[in-house]
Symmetry: C2
Subunit: 368 residues, 2 copies
């Protein structure tokens, strides 16, 4: 069993930098945003790569790209194309036209979020860029739901993406190096996903609604291994999950699913430990997308990671079940690791964040 | 006179990628967000480096750091420290305590926005990361004003920063190389700035209010020179400024100041040309922060750039005059270039964005 140390690493103490934040008082600060005007997810699309399409959830994804470069010259260009496909697919799915979309809120993992910006350039919709690494999907849903709930805009697109080859090149080593991966590594999901959040009207009552959201707190327990994202991100998920449970009065069993982003096998085990230490033992309703997307035979070690990991699963499998009423209420806590290679080279540890949204089925009970 | 070509560069046409977006119909899509519950800027702080403090606006900045490393080991650490100083200074200026702050919305130029995330880790406030390169200040003010206006939160911090040495290392060359700078280059401002946006109450009526905001549209006219940011960003400022004038009915003379972010001398000349072509000739009320921050004797060629360029000027000089009532209404359009070095190496051009906020003096006329 992995033993998680809540201690300050040697390398940091020399600089007299406080890595470990003081214990959070989960109920002291108002963090839950409640949406009373029923922002709904009226359209969505998930695109994945070949490996993801062969995993246990393969049949749920709307589109599979069998070529990692998708006919483009570079992996970066392929990622832009995938993002574009997801965005246009979500617009089509909603029955809207791209000119009816008021705003695109998106982000991705690459430096300066180039995938999302370059794709948005060609989509031609006003753009708000958000950065939360792999927590981008919930961050963009949070902002979109608030804009729609408050009446500033009617139809807001949320989107994100990641690509195994671009992420490896940027954060670790280019694939051509053929580096060996440690057993606690995860596999960046190649995929893109988009949702359209829209105000309530007669037509849209059959769609799932976003009832609340929680912006994440940056949390750093001192992990500094670029391969071990699950261990780094688990404390951030713990912070947001504790806030969710303490500030809303809900517990795990009030949700059909409490789902984290991409902690993977190891990270979600750590999260269970951290929650148990705080008296909130997680049971069968808790799952992690990183733990679900690949089969153990696919040799992805601890599972999937990347912005697209939870975004593609949320916009396929999870929303499918919410639309049908098989799930009544889902808490979705995507998790992101906010380091850069530069910060890691300079001896910094990895700060992480987890933004949450609570989504209810149109056939579900109202959230109080 | 610089001749601005609205043509697709050769390198892009081969890939069959549309660089130049179709002409925007500025009035077709609702883009203006109006705030009716008077979100106000109740606290602020600007920190700058030594060079900036010796410029024409030096006396307005709240703090000057004379050491580029600020006693830290790296320029990146210095940038984090500066960000922290600005944020804590703004909180102090507002008379609040850090525990009264509900949310921090921030971003910066570095890969994965590490300055802002690492600083936010120690500040201990929930965080929303936004990326708009040098347009970050207006992007965060837009999101903060909407969150406060809608009642989700009461006190939201907005912050951003940039540092000459970290930006040069990342986007061009490390300073130690001693590269020569072309005459159309700008100088990244070393500085950080923060504002607190808060809801209206008796105490706060003496503070400037954010009355509207416009999210930017990503615009790319085909510039691909990493040194020529002004030329790249001018079309984005033009798009947002045209939207402001056509969708609100205001013209330049309705504002005491229409201020762009960091186009610099060349970029603001290009913007004047672009606006004149569209029948909206800019007069004396238009200024550019990049053009103001350095004296010509300081040899910064076209002027300042970077997230901190307009953010520090807005949070000192401009807000000073709004607080006193010397300016009644200001349109602030920060501009950002969204490329990465990777995207430029791969032959891509530079997409840009400009988000706008309109701020009124507490003694000003109401916006309709």
């Amino acid at each position: 069993m992995f033993s998680f140390k809540h201690t300050k690493p040697e390398s940091m103490s020399k600089d007299n930098v406080s890595v470990v934040p003081p214990p959070t008082n989960f109920s002291s600060r108002k963090r839950v945003m409640r949406f009373y005007n029923t922002p709904r997810i009226i359209g969505r699309m998930s695109v994945v790569g070949e490996k993801e399409s062969k995993g246990p959830l393969g049949k749920y994804f709307a589109k599979c790209e069998t070529d990692d470069k998708m006919g483009e010259k570079t992996f970066e260009r392929a990622e832009i194309r995938m993002f574009d496909t997801a965005v246009r697919g979500a617009v089509r799915d909603s029955g809207l036209d791209i000119k009816d979309v008021d705003l695109l809120i998106s982000g991705d993992l690459l430096n300066q979020m180039t995938t999302s910006s370059y794709a948005a350039r060609d989509i031609g919709v006003p753009h708000i860029g958000v950065y939360g690494a792999c927590s981008t999907m919930t961050e963009s849903l949070l902002v979109a739901a608030s804009f729609v709930d408050s009446g500033y805009f009617s139809n807001v697109l949320c989107a994100t993406c990641s690509h195994f080859a671009t992420a490896e090149r940027q954060f670790r080593f280019p694939l051509e190096y053929g580096c060996q991966r440690p057993p606690y590594a995860q596999w960046t999901v190649t995929g893109a996903a988009a949702s359209i959040v829209s105000t309530n009207n007669a037509d849209t009552e059959r769609f799932p609604k976003i009832v609340m959201a929680i912006p994440g707190m940056i949390t750093d327990f001192g992990t500094n291994d670029l391969n071990n994202m699950g261990a780094a991100m688990a404390p951030a998920a713990m912070d947001t999950m504790c806030t969710l449970f303490t500030q809303t009065g809900f517990c795990e069993s009030d949700f059909d699913l409490v789902v984290t982003g991409d902690l993977g096998k190891l990270g979600s085990d750590i999260l269970r430990d951290l929650m148990r230490e705080r008296g909130m033992k997680l049971g069968q309703n808790y799952i992690d997308c990183g733990n679900m997307i690949y089969d153990v035979k696919q040799k992805c070690y601890q599972g999937g990671s990347g912005c697209a990991c939870s975004a593609t699963i949320f916009n396929s499998f999870i929303l499918d079940k919410l639309v049908k009423g098989e799930y009544k209420r889902v808490a979705y806590l995507a998790t992101g690791a906010l380091m850069s290679t530069q910060s890691c080279y300079q001896g910094e540890t990895i700060p992480c964040i987890s933004h949450a949204v609570v989504v209810e089925s149109p056939f579900g009970g109202e959230c109080e």
